[in-house]
Amino acid sequence: MLILGVLLIVGAHAWGLTAPLNEAQMGITGRILYVHVPTAWVALLVFCIAFGAAIRVLWAGSKRADYIEEASLEVGVVLTIMLLVQGSIWGRATWETWWTWDPRLTSSAVMAISFAGILVLRGMLHNPDKRRTISAVSTIIAFLNVPVVYFSVKLLPSIHQLQSTPNTVDSEMHWPLRTAAFGFLFLSLGLIGLRARVAELRAFRTEEEPDLPPVPETLQVEV
């Protein structure tokens, strides 16, 4: 899945970057669309996976769901940071500023911080049962940010454009954009699978540690 994702991303960019340019206002910088928009879609989707996994942890007590939740949170935070960096570069080229207090930009940054906070919290909880429950509860509540990010451009219109879909771009850009989105999706799913496996092995190693020999009683030295 990882290799398929990488191939699709490379193919989509080769296709998109060499296709005729039908972007009237932004020119060549508009081509960052092929990486920025799929990153945004997949980041929100990955947080949806984390949310689903958190619900499963709470109501079914699934350990596997906890590993998937941990992996999805990490991948989602990385994707959101990538999204902010790409948006910042695109903003510099088109809006002539690296950052503006637009509701979409601000809510995306808040979303990244709130999910990163859960990852920090996980690192501080050493009891696996407690970590599983507390991070699931925190993920469910932090997920409230996701619809806020998605609808922010409609509810609080500002400098950022409305949600992009393949139908809102020129037909020449349609298929490269869609292919790149599937590439990012497969790559992210592959990374989540790998990271969840790492979490599972780490938990196995922690929980299946061999019994240590009993601590010897303190030697009493008679003077």
């Binding site: 709130s114 920090v120 919290l121 469910i140 409230l144």
Partner: protein, 238 residues
């Protein structure tokens, strides 16, 4: 042999509302008997208001323009400390297990504690407000009812998620760090709406925009009070 049977037959079911009321009364009484925490928190909030004023400078127009932000930022910052203490009484005396063993639903514990936090945050707002009016020369008399509504919704929007996260992070050694890290991103809609609504009240709301901010605050209050009550039972199960 008949005594235990009599005791069981005399035991009454305590309703959810009564359980909430009892836990609320317990927390309020403990705090009210010492009062030291409220006095300390109020002093901190007033100091923060003054620090904001020092940072911006003595320009009265500039201070008045941003006064709503200073008021709410000081309330939120101090509330975080207040919230972080809300489970400390039980944790310090190992009484949390005892409280959890009381035959009441966990939601009653949450709502009792959240309501007491709501009252303390409201008191904090009411104590620091006259100082804000004095320091920043504010006129809040034009729509007092709307202002009371902003204070109530603001306190509710902070208390509901704050109580849950205080419970989540209560046993962590670095609770003072983790509580704001987890809580502040969730408070942004409430704080943003409260700041905007307060600003509109100060500036007499010329375009009648305040209802939209009230709607946001009401929506987040409803979501947080319901969702956090449900989630708390999952947290205390551990």
């Amino acid at each position: 042999m008949s005594a235990p049977v009599e005791i069981i037959s005399e035991r009454r079911e305590v309703s959810l509302i009564r359980s909430v009321g009892l836990i609320f009364r317990k927390d309020i009484l403990i705090e009210w008997r010492s009062k030291s925490r409220l006095v300390g928190m109020s002093c901190y909030a007033i100091t923060l208001l003054m620090l904001f004023a020092f940072a911006v400078g003595p320009d009265p127009v500039m201070l008045q323009k941003h006064a709503s932000a200073y008021v709410w930022m000081s309330v939120v910052t101090v509330s975080t400390l207040l919230l972080s203490q809300s489970f400390q009484n039980e944790l310090e005396s190992d009484a949390l297990e005892g409280l959890l063993l009381v035959p009441v639903p966990p939601a009653a514990i949450y709502y009792g504690k959240a309501l007491s936090n709501f009252v303390w945050i409201l008191l904090l707002e009411l104590i620091s407000l006259p100082f804000a009016v004095l320091l920043f020369q504010l006129d809040l008399t034009t729509s007092p009812l709307q202002f009371v509504a902003v204070l109530l919704l603001g306190a509710g929007g902070v208390a509901a998620p704050g109580t849950l996260y205080a419970g989540l992070t209560g046993r962590l050694a670095s609770q003072q760090l983790m509580l704001p890290v987890l809580l502040f991103p969730l408070l942004i809609p409430t704080v943003l709406s409260a700041v905007k609504a307060t600003n509109l009240i100060i500036n007499h709301d010329p375009f009648d925009q305040i209802s939209a901010w009230f709607a946001v605050m009401c929506a987040f209050n409803a979501i947080y009070w319901v969702l956090c009550g449900v989630m708390f039972s999952k947290v205390v199960d551990e």
